[in-house]
Structure formats: C-alpha cells, structure tokens
Amino acid sequence: ITARIKRTLPVRGPQAPTLSELMRWYCLNTNTHGCRRIVVSRGRLRRFIWILLTLSAVGLILWQCAELLLNYYSASVSVTVQFQKLPFPAVTICNINPYKYSSMKDYLSELDKETKKALETFYGFSEGKSKVRRSVDERNSTGSEFFKQIPLLKFEDFSRTVIDLHSGQKRKIEGSVFHKDSSIVNSGDSNDIIGFQLCDANNSSDCALYTFSSGVNAIQEWYKLHYMNIMAQIPLETKEKASYSADDLILTCFFDGLSCDKRHFTRFHHPLHGNCYTFNSGENGTILSTSTGGSEYGLQVVLYIDEADYNPFLVTSTGAKIIVHDQNEYPFIEDIGTEIETAAATSIGMHFTRSRKLSKPYSDCTETGADIPVENLYNKSYSLQICLHSCFQKAMVDSCGCAQYAQPLPPGAEYCNYKKNPNWMYCYYRLHEKFVKEQLGCQQICKDACSFKEWALTTSIAQWPSTVSEDWMLRVLSWDKGQKLNKKLNKTDLANLMVFYKDLNERFISENPANTLVILLSNFGGQLGLWMSCSVVCVIEIVEVFLIDSLSIVMRRQWQKAKKWWNDRKRERLGKAPQAGDLERQGHDNPVCIDEDLPTFNTALRLPLPQDSPLPRTPPPNYSTLRLETAFTEQLPDTLEAGQH
C-alpha cells in the first residue's frame, strides 16, 4: 500500500535541500511584498534596508491585529424609540400602617404598655393612661418574660453603666458595643443615649449593644423587634383579616377614563405592610393598556387612610406607599416604594424604558437566573434584589435555624419567634452585619439581570381637595363609603393618586456586539493588505515554508547525522572501506531517495515540484511575478535535471 501511495502521490521533500535555499526559493516565489526585494536587491545595504522594512511591516501587522482582537469584545448600544400601545404596569398600593391598630390590640397591648412605660421612665412622657387601663393579664406571663430579656436601656456616658427599664437600677453591662463611636448628634448630653442589648442565649457574656443617635429611632427599632416576634406567631388568616380590605383602602377608582372597582385589584399580603393591592397584576391573564398618554387616561384612585387607627410606635408617618413594577416582578415596597401624602393629589408621570444587556462574554449578567446557585424564594422573575434577599434568607435558615419575618419562607422552614428560637435576634443582627460587610458572599453570587424594565417616575403634588370643593366632595365620598362608617370623612384621611404615562413612547436600549466576525476578518484583511499585500493564502504559504518545510529540513539533518554516526560506528566495528559514506551523502542529498522524514499531508499536496538539487546551484533564473507559468516552466528543467541526476 505504501508503495502505491508513493506512486500515486509522489511525495517529495521541501523545495530546497537547505534552509537558506528554502528561504531564497520562498522569497522569489511568494506573493507577499518585500520579501522578493530582499533577494533581488543588489548591494548589501539595500538588502539590509529591505530586510528591516519587511520585518517592521510584519511587526506592524501583528500589533494592529492584536489591537483589533482586543477590541473585538466591545458592545455598542442602540436606542430605539417606539410608539405603540404600551401595557400599563402593575401598581401596588399599601397603607403605610400594616394592620388596624384596633384589631391588633389584643396582641400588642403588652408591648405597647411596655413601650409607654419606657417613654415614661426615660422621657417623663405620659399619655392619658385610661386607654391602657384595660390590661389584659392572661398574656402577661408569657410576653413580659421576653420583654425583660431584651429591655430598653439608658446609658450613662460611655462607662457602660445602664439604667434598666424594669428594675430602674444601675448595673454594669459588658459586651461589645455596636455603633460605639459617639454619634454626631448627641455629643452634648451623652447620658441620654438609649439602646438595647442582645445576648447570645447560650453564652450570656457574648453580647452586642445597639445604640441609636436618637431616642425616636431606638424606640422604633426596639418596638419593631418585638413586633416581628409577635407577628410571627399569628396565623396568616388572622393577619389578613386584621389588615385593610380593598373596600377599606380604595374609595374610588378610574382607569383609562372608565370606572373600575376592587375586582381589578389583587390582594397580596406583605409581611411588613399588611394587605397590599396590586392594580393590573395580570393574574387573570389580561394586562390592561392605556389608549393614550396623559393623566386623564391613567389610573386614578382615592385612598382612604384611616389615620386614627394607626399604630403610633410602628409607623410615624401617615400616607400610602406605592410602587410601579412589571407584572412579573416582585414589588419591594419596603425598599423602593414611594410615599404618598394625605390631603393632597399626587400625580405620578411615567416614562417607560426597556434595557437589554449582552450576556457573556460581553458582560457578567444572567438571563433567567437559572445559572445562579441561589434558589428563588419569590415566585416571580429573577432580579438582583430577589437574589440578595433569597441568599440572605438561606443563610439565616442555615445559621439561625429559622427564617426572617420580612422575607418569604423557604420550604421546610418557619418564621423566627422567641418562643421557639430564643436566640434568633442576636443571630439575625450578627448575620445582617456580616451581610452588609459582604462577608456572606451573596453579593458575589448574585448577578444582574440581563434585561430589565424601568419606569422613570416624576411626581408633583397639589393640595386636594380644594377649599371650595372640599365640602361636597367629602360628603359624597362619605356617602359612597356606606353605612358602616357613620362618621364624616376627614380630608386628612384621604389621598388622591394618579398614575399615568406621560407619553406612549417606549425607549428600548439594547446592546449589540460592535464587531462581528465578518468585520473582524475584513479588518484583518485590511491590515495584512496595507503593510505587505498579504492574504490568507500567503499566511498558509508562510506556515508551509517556515514551519513544515524548515522543520522537515532540520529533521532530515538530524536524521542524517544520526545515520552517519551510526554508520561510522558500524564501519569502525567492521573496518570497511569508506566509500559507502560518499554514496550515502549523495543519497541523502538526492531528494528522491529520502523517505525517512515523515511526509505530511500538506507537503504531499502542495509541493508540485521536486526541489533543487544541490549540484546545479543555479543563480535564480529571471522569474517574473507576472509570468508565473513561465517561471515554472523555466524551473522545471532544472529540477528534472536534478531528478535525473
């Protein structure tokens, strides 16, 4: 078989027997510019200059092409503006106060009593005590135990002497003090700092002390801590009942010039904000859209905010919170919700922008979130916020054994409360601190979403209702509200909200790759052509000549050397005449009999000519690039000669 292959595909070695011959042959026959000049130029200086020029051209090509390659992964951005019928986003509305204070009184009375006591001891503040008098004692035993564990403390200077709320005695406390730098605000009378202390239940010497720059913050934070414990024990149905119903919250509703009612709103229970109502949540499959832009055609609601039923310690501001979001997005009311004032008309104009980023390798973002090792606890589409919250919740369940109240439950876990997990608060605060300092690794795991929608909002506020219209409007609204509320509505209990598209333009910002493969290749071609008039074929040529051929020449040399050495040794051993060596040399110079070097397929295919024999060593014939054919015909006799020889 080998014999046949040799016959049908006659493989000859490289074009020249030695490296310098090969180079010469290459330079005379190549298509790239410059190289030929090196050979044909007359005079050494001239030749040297041409070598320099050619090499610098090669260098330039390499440099420019490297730069092109480096710039390959850049993205350009296109912005398109479309005029079309835009789907209206989902609008979630919550009362700032989560639950009706009157209906939560049974659960919170103990805590409120404690808070009032704290206020009285620390600030000498006393309210009309009649309200609290009804003291429900049946819960007393369980509740106050825990309040006593984590009482409010008053610090005297920073000597760590504190006055306990309950005992009223001074005692020394130990433990690391958080926020221990004196806050800027009360450097004057530092004996008034209020805070609380959280201790590890298993190891009571390990404590963390929380102080606040203002008593207002301290009391609110302390209240919230206990409040979350209490709320975690109450079943969801009770909480939903204690919160506001759609009828309670929404008095009137208008959308796109038509009346709407509570059926257009979907209820969802937010752990911190109670019952929230989402307009146009897309739950029943249809997503509303507005026919035109402008405040007339948006959503227009009047909200009833029952200020009298507010929890005085949990929330200190009055109004509603709203958030505009996509139907697939989870509304993070507590993080980015916008507040709305009572006794005012708030109009919110929207501008819709959709953005799309290119994912890898252009930037580090995720399309669906499926490639991120954090389980999405919210059954909504992925966002960075969701990932961070889920990641934190997972860490919380792992290290504290229970889930934080403000975020959804992972499967198999339950919310923390101090009956079951007396240690959780300390654990939570420690964990949260770690999270903020990015020690949990959540910020590294979670990536941005590649595409997102954004509604840019602008608000304006006007007084509402006006003094002249106030009278009739309040009367009508009171009548609408029905009989169950037999008092006349107060204007400070109402808020008017308008959410509308300012125009129906959709801005779509998308990233596109700035370079495609075609552009890259054509730029390469340009560079190669500019400096040396080279092409892919000439690149192949270079590879062939400089890599394959020269390698084979070198290898052949080595082979011959080895063979010669072997023969010499044999000869020495046998003591034979040295003629064989002469023959040998002739043999290996003669290309026809070289079979030892492995012929590659490339050389087999591409080398039509047998190489020059060393004997003629003819000066280069007068080739012309224009007449390649003649060059071949001219060259052929030589080589044939060599072959015959």
Partner: protein, 543 residues
C-alpha cells in the same frame, strides 16, 4: 555596499521584473503596443482616481473626529454621594447687626411707602444674637433710598445712589443704578414688587456684609449640628462625628456636608433601598433671622459629587417641614473624550481661569471664578457671594459707588454669553449626575406625634411646644445601584482607519506600503543614477 545599475535601462528592467504594483507594471513594462498602453493607462488612472477619492473621503471623516455615544450599564458597588443640607437661616453677625436692623427698618418704610401697608412690627423682629462687640463703623450715611407710591405715577425722589421707581402704565418697581459719573444710569425694574424688594434687599445686604472680615471663624458661633440634625443614620448605623463638614453660606445659612471626601468605607452603598440609605430627622424651623433674604421655609438639600462645591442656588432641593421626604437617587455618568474629539478638561489644570474654590473642577465653579475675575478687573471689587481672588476686596458702595451699575451690566453680559466665560470654561471630561425622585408623607402622624416630639424634646433639646410643624424627616437612598454611563468613543480609530486604507489599497492596486517604498527606491535610484551619469559626463568632458 550598494550596487548601482549600469544604466537607466537596466534599472527599469529590474524594476519591471521585480515590482509588486499591479497596474503600473502593465503600463510601464508592457510591450510597445499603443492600444494596450492606452488601455492600461486608462485603467490605471481610473483605479488611481478611485483610490484617492476613497482616501479623501476616509481622511476627511477621520479628521472631523466623529464620536459615537455608547451607553453601558454598570453595577459595581460605589460610594454614597455627598449630601449638603442647609437651614436657610443665615446668621446676623454681631458686627453688622445694627446695620441690618437699619436695613430692615428701611425696607419696612419703603414697603409702607410703596403699598401703604404698615407691616406688623413682629415681621422684622430685632434679632437676639450679638456675638461680637459692635465696632464703630462709619454708618451707612448715604444708604438712603427713595421710593414712590405705585398708584400715582411720578413721585421720584432721586438720591445719589438708588431709587425705587415704577414704569409708566403698570407698576414696575425697581431701583436706579448709575455709573461713577452719574452720566449713565439704568433702572433695575421688576414687574412684581416682591421681586424688586427682594433684589433691593439683597443688594443692600451684600454691601453690609462686605464689611465683615473675609474669614469668619464659624466655630465661634454656638450653632452646632445638634441644633439642626436630631438624628442621623446611614445604613442603619448612626453617623459619626467625623462624617460632616460645616460651612456658612450667606444666603442659605449654616450648611453641613455629609460624606464630603467620599473615601470613608462607612459610606459605601451596599444595597439599594430605603433601609440602606441616609436618614435624617431635621429641625426645619421657620424662625428666620433675616426675613427678606429668603422667603422659603424648610431645609435645602443637595446631592452632589464628592469634593465638589455645592451650588445650592442652582440645584438644591427643598424639604417641607412636617413631611417625611424620601428621595430616591439614580446615578448617570458621562465620560467625554478630550483632545481632538471635543473640548473638556480632566482636572481643570489646563483651564486658564484660576479656580477660586479649592475643590475639584466643575463647570459652575469655573464660571463663577471667571466672573469674579472679570468683576474685580472691571469694577475693582468682588461680588460678595463668590470667593475673593487674592488681593481683592468685596464690593461696598461706600468705597465703590458705581459697582452696582457695573455688576448688573456685567451680569447681563454673562447671561447673554457676551463674556467669554463660557468659552474659557470647558466641561469636565467626567461628570456624574444624580437623578432625583421624591415621595412625601405626613410626618409625624397624628397618633405618634406626641411621643415623637416628647422624645426629641427630652433628648435633643428640641424646645418647641407649639403645634407648628417644625421638624422634617429626610431619607436619601439609591433606587438602583446599577448606573448608566454614557461614553464617547471615537467612531474611527487609527487602527480602523489603517485597516480600511489597506482594504482600499488592496482592492484598487493590490499593492501595499512596501510597494510604495519600492517606488521610492526607484525614485532615489533614478536620482542617484542621473547624478552619477552627469558626474561621469562632466569628468569625461574635462579629461
């Protein structure tokens, strides 16, 4: 070293054989067939024309330095911006308090004169702060104003300096400004009397304030941050004493800048959302020390970059008392290409306006400095609201009686872009802007206000017992941590220009830079050869 050809013929032969330029060779080296030569000449010229036309197009495009705007979203963690809050309550310095009282009385009189109302005395209540001993300064003798009633037409009391004056049919209120000789006067008039009085008051106020020493030691004043900020929390932690810088603004009163340096890791923004932002409880009292200077009650807030002088008059944000305001911010970044692509400056070193603010370069700071320099040059004194260049002093009409005239005219020219300040001040190459979106809610709520007030009263020395709304809550937070940055980048980089040149060249000629060098070589050879021949002939003739 260099072999030369024996003759021109030899040279050309060599060239024809070895050149790599495609068209030329056919032209020069083809046989003496006329038809062929003409054809090749035509072809050669055509492709030559095409090539240079394309080159011209490319170069003209390149030298126009076109830029493309690329927008990119970034989401790396970053610092919270610097926040400046001001209480809109400038001091009455003891040194000038008597003059200010005088001015108040004067304003009262002129209001009474203009509108016939006797404003209640409480409106201009005498102040209570006398901090320094009042030095006996030359009283403002010629500070008398003349005004006239609006309902009647002409009752102009002309005084050397200023006079209120109305227009013909409607009541334009204003005052008159003259240059030093009195030959050139104009009336600064306003359609509303309120604007006129405010402007008039401001003008006098500047004159009075110019008597103060340039450097006022504010720390001597007992005003402390506790009097204004009752609570400060960032990311759930109390702010620290080192976190703020205090300065006094002549109009906006005492101001505090939080996170001015932007280097403290305490202020890195880790998460977007209200709980992780800066939350302040502020006193927003409506007790004004100087009632006619600003008529707004509340607190001014400005969000700006680190190391930047806050120009509150340009982009401040007002906070109402009795309201909790949540301000969501979003950052946009603009990066400009400097150099050939447009005029911008990276740090202001290459701008030939000396910055008077010792903060980083902004366009606003440059414009103000530029204006102040021109003002000092033209009017001989500096505008009070801007910092002084070395060796200058603030304007005072006792010393420079004509400065008002000079100033307003100069200011008009600035506004109409007749001063070349706008040319001298390039935009900074790197700018970030904060987009602000605010929501408001009533605070404290009716149910909680009792205990909130009590707690503040007890702890923070909040001493108001009235039911007036005089506290406010502000929360400033990042809405999203990812920010858009708009970058200019060159449309045609040198790299791409060369590539496209190469493509054109290959397309029309199939030649390269090396071929051009070949042509050069030919040219030089021709020259040398002809010189040689000349020399030979010369020598042979001689011999």
């Amino acid at each position: 070293l260099i072999e030369f050809y024996d003759s021109f013929k030899d040279m050309f032969e060599f060239f024809c054989k070895n050149t790599t330029i495609h068209g030329t060779i056919r032209l020069v080296c083809s046989d003496s067939n006329r038809m062929k030569t003409a054809f090749w000449t035509l072809l050669f010229l055509a492709s030559f024309g095409m090539l240079y036309w394309q080159f011209a197009l490319m170069f003209s495009q390149y030298w126009a330095y076109p830029v493309v705007l690329t927008m990119s979203m970034h989401s790396e963690p970053k610092m919270f911006p610097a926040i400046t809050i001001c209480n809109l309550d400038p001091y009455r310095f003891g040194l000038v308090s008597e003059h200010l009282a005088q001015l108040d009385r004067m304003a009262e009189e002129s209001i009474a004169f203009l509108y016939g109302i006797n404003t209640s005395a409480s409106f201009f209540h005498a102040n209570e702060k006398n901090i320094y001993n009042i030095k006996d300064l030359p009283s403002i003798r010629n500070l008398s104003r003349s005004s006239f009633k609006l309902s009647q037409n002409y009752s102009l009391l002309r005084m050397p300096d200023h006079s209120n004056r109305s227009g013909k049919k409607h009541f334009n209120v204003g005052f008159k400004l003259c240059n030093a000789t009195g030959g050139n006067c104009f009336y600064k008039t306003y359609s509303s009397g309120m604007d006129a009085i405010l402007e008039w008051y401001r003008f006098h106020y500047m004159n009075i304030m110019s008597q103060l020493p340039v450097i006022i030691n504010i720390s001597d004043h007992e005003e402390q941050i506790e009097d204004m900020v009752y609570s400060c929390q960032y990311d759930g932690e109390p702010c620290r004493p080192s976190d703020y810088v205090h300065f006094h603004h002549p109009v906006f009163g005492s101001c505090y800048t939080f996170n001015n340096k932007g280097t403290d890791p305490f202020w890195t923004a880790t998460k977007p959302g209200i709980p992780y932002g800066l939350s302040l409880i502020l006193r927003a009292e409506q007790k004004d020390h100087i009632p006619l200077l600003s008529t707004v009650a509340g607190v001014k807030v400005m969000i700006h970059n680190h190391n930047q002088t806050p120009f509150l008059e340009h982009e401040g944000f007002d906070i109402r008392p009795g309201i909790a305001t949540t301000i969501g911010i979003q950052q946009d970044e603009v990066n400009r290409l400097g150099g050939n692509y447009g005029k911008c400056t990276t740090n202001g070193d290459d701008v030939n306006v000396k910055l008077l603010y010792n903060n980083s370069y902004t366009l606003q700071a440059c414009l103000h400095s530029c204006f102040q320099h021109i003002m000092v040059q033209k009017c001989g004194c500096g505008y009070y609201y801007y910092p002084l260049p070395a060796g200058a002093e603030y304007c005072d009409y006792n010393k420079q009686p004509a400065w008002g005239h000079c100033f307003y005219q100069l200011y008009n020219r600035l506004r109409n872009h007749h001063l070349n300040c706008f040319d001298q001040c390039p935009k900074p190459c790197r700018e970030s802007q904060y987009k602000v979106f605010a929501g408001t809610a009533k605070w404290p709520s009716a149910k909680s206000q009792d205990w909130v007030r009590q707690a503040l009263r007890h702890q923070n020395g909040y001493n108001s017992t009235s039911n007036r709304l005089d506290i406010a809550k502000v929360t400033i937070f990042y809405q999203q941590l990812n920010y858009k940055s708009v970058n200019e980048s060159p449309l045609l980089s040198e790299n791409l220009l060369l590539s496209s040149m190469g493509s054109q060249w290959s397309l029309w000629f199939g030649s390269s830079v090396l071929s051009v060098v070949e042509m050069f070589e030919l040219l030089i050879d021709t020259l040398v050869l002809s010189l040689l021949f000349c020399y030979q002939r010369f020598r042979s003739k001689k011999t």
